[in-house]
Symmetry: C2
Subunit: 365 residues, 2 copies
């Protein structure tokens, strides 16, 4: 059932497929609906947040051939809410003539932390020193290269601080390697950063790009706690972040919204921490601080539409609601400057992202 790639831009009334039924898929689906699109969600869990606001729900593992075939029949283009989409799924969709955006190159790079940092350095985006290791012995050698303390991460998978640990002494590296499952890892030098920033950027099918103002991000226990945007940054920092975004987007021949996490170093340099080939938690402020938020922007890009404006219309503090914090919804609803976004998740497990609030203030205050 090979068919021609859709003639773009995609007309309203078409169906956009999304791999993943979590909160990012949900907010993408809501944005797509506003533009007149239907949405089909492929997700192995029943009753997912995104499926409950979408026209079609395909209940199947991400790499299930039958499920992917149903999705291919429904959707004119497919995107995803998380970067660990199986490469086989994307290949199978391509075989069936369905384009996936962002494309396979973005997934290859983002799914492997060693490939990612190598790609970044090749494209003129600085990172901390890093080295790969496929054994405990290599891990010890890698520490000698990058110095201690160093952060050991599995090359693949892991999020919100999972699948990683700090190595204080080279002697501990071999044991840590085994504790992380004996899988290929990357060792990263500690970053002496002043603060964490991120830039949300987008690239359309025509190669046009757009960047949102920078966000300043605060993590706790490896999980994003809050973001402030637009971040107060020196002009040259903003320009450097935009240069990095432009290089990454072009290097990946990217289509869609990308999140690029940055370290602002004590010495004033900007290093890339990681890239996420999708809408990003640190871009949730755009829902109430921009005319076109990151979700609509992503839908516009993957549908081949022109990108929308990205300037800030307000100053926003975004605070994630983790676990039982979302039970404070009534208190937030009483605050006139607070915009509440809840994801429809049934179980408030500790650390689970249940929603977020955007505290909105006028620009220039």
């Amino acid at each position: 059932m090979r068919r021609a790639h859709p003639v773009l831009p995609l007309a309203p009334g078409s169906t956009i497929g999304i791999l993943g039924g979590g909160q990012l898929g949900r907010m993408l689906a809501l944005a797509a609906a506003r533009l007149g699109f239907d949405v089909a969600i492929l997700e192995p869990e029943p009753d997912s947040p995104a499926a409950r606001v979408s026209a079609h729900a395909v209940l199947a593992p991400y790499d299930d051939p039958a499920g992917l075939q149903v999705l291919a029949r429904l959707a004119s283009v497919v995107t995803y809410e998380f970067e660990n989409v199986p490469a086989a799924a994307v290949a199978r969709l391509a075989d069936m003539g369905v384009e996936v955006a962002p494309g396979p190159r973005a997934l290859e790079v983002a799914q492997d932390r060693f490939e990612e940092k190598s790609f970044l350095n090749r494209h003129g985006a600085a990172t901390v020193a890093f080295a790969r290791a496929d054994s405990g012995e290599e891990a010890v050698e890698a520490i000698a290269l990058v110095g201690a303390p160093a952060l050991m991460k599995t090359r693949r998978e892991g999020y919100d601080g999972k699948g990683q640990r700090w190595i204080e002494h080279a002697a501990d590296a071999a044991r840590a390697f085994e504790e992380l499952g004996g899988r290929p890892v990357i060792l990263e030098a500690a970053a002496d950063f002043r603060r964490e920033l991120s830039i949300i950027a987008a690239r359309g099918r025509d190669g046009a790009t757009a960047v949102y103002p920078l966000s300043e991000n605060h993590h706790e226990g490896g999980i994003l706690r809050r973001s402030l945007a637009p971040a107060e940054v020196a002009g040259h920092i903003a320009e450097e972040a935009e240069r990095i975004a432009a290089r990454v987007l072009a290097g990946l021949e990217y289509v869609g919204v990308i999140g690029i996490e940055l370290f602002e170093m004590e010495d004033g340099r900007l290093l890339v921490n990681e890239i996420a080939p999708r809408v990003h938690n640190t871009g949730h402020w755009t829902l109430d601080g921009c005319e076109v938020d990151q979700f609509e922007q992503h839908i516009r890009a993957v549908a081949g539409w022109p990108l929308g404006p990205t300037h800030a219309t307000a100053r926003v503090e975004m605070i994630n609601l983790l676990g039982e914090e979302a039970e404070g919804w009534l208190r937030f609803a009483h605050e006139p400057e607070t915009r509440l976004h809840l994801y429809g998740k049934r179980e408030p497990k500790p650390g689970r992202k249940m929603g977020h609030v955007n505290l909105v203030k006028p620009l220039g205050r």
Copy 2:
């Protein structure tokens, strides 16, 4: 299966029922999803715009007992997107212990144009002169009361200019009465108005009220063409509109968002044209001109949440996209100040509301 009324405010994760699956239901459903609610749509047409963004779709006539029972089982509270909900449906839902908001009083008044104007006058809101007629003979007499030309409308049903006609001479009244189906009518005096305004207002379960800035509205062929908001009005006009809204909301013991159409007369008075006990086309500007739009406001009200802020954050020109006008979507997508809202309707029939655009400009320009 009688059960206690929900303990309010309604918690996220609950299901809100909506009678009607059109664009208003769709935009209500999107707003409800943002706050973490599930939505169940009851609508006789398959593949409706609202059902495609909702967790549950009940395909049944509005007064179908089985369909209403399914809705009652799913939903903690039920609202509606149009005022011609059968009274029997609301009564049946009440029998099953499910609250409907806005309540039966609002529907009774809004479903009958004679009751509506009588209610308004009783509550200190002026209207044009009007008279009822149940026969051609009475229609002729009514013209004598209100003067010619007069507007004859069926007392019940009709929208966007349907079910009404102008009577130039009393002698034509009897024939017009027959042409409108021989049903009870109301005769309204011509309003010598300078312009049409509307006010979107809300009342919470706690009796708190909130009003949005006035909108200036332009109709063509009985269909809303465009709205400008906030309208430029004299201070006393805005205050009078707010007084009218407060009286109407209190008089109906209203819960939810209401649209009140006003005539600004050449002599400076403000007359009420009609009230719509629901979110309203002239409030679509709030989607891009307010922090909490009319759809979220309505969901907040019917869920027993506190009302949100209603001040304008931008100046908006809302233009309805009728019929094939929506096919200009790509042109609109290219305009940076234009926010596009499409309803997912399959067939662009002439005059059919397919979407709208909000042209957004900074306040004070």
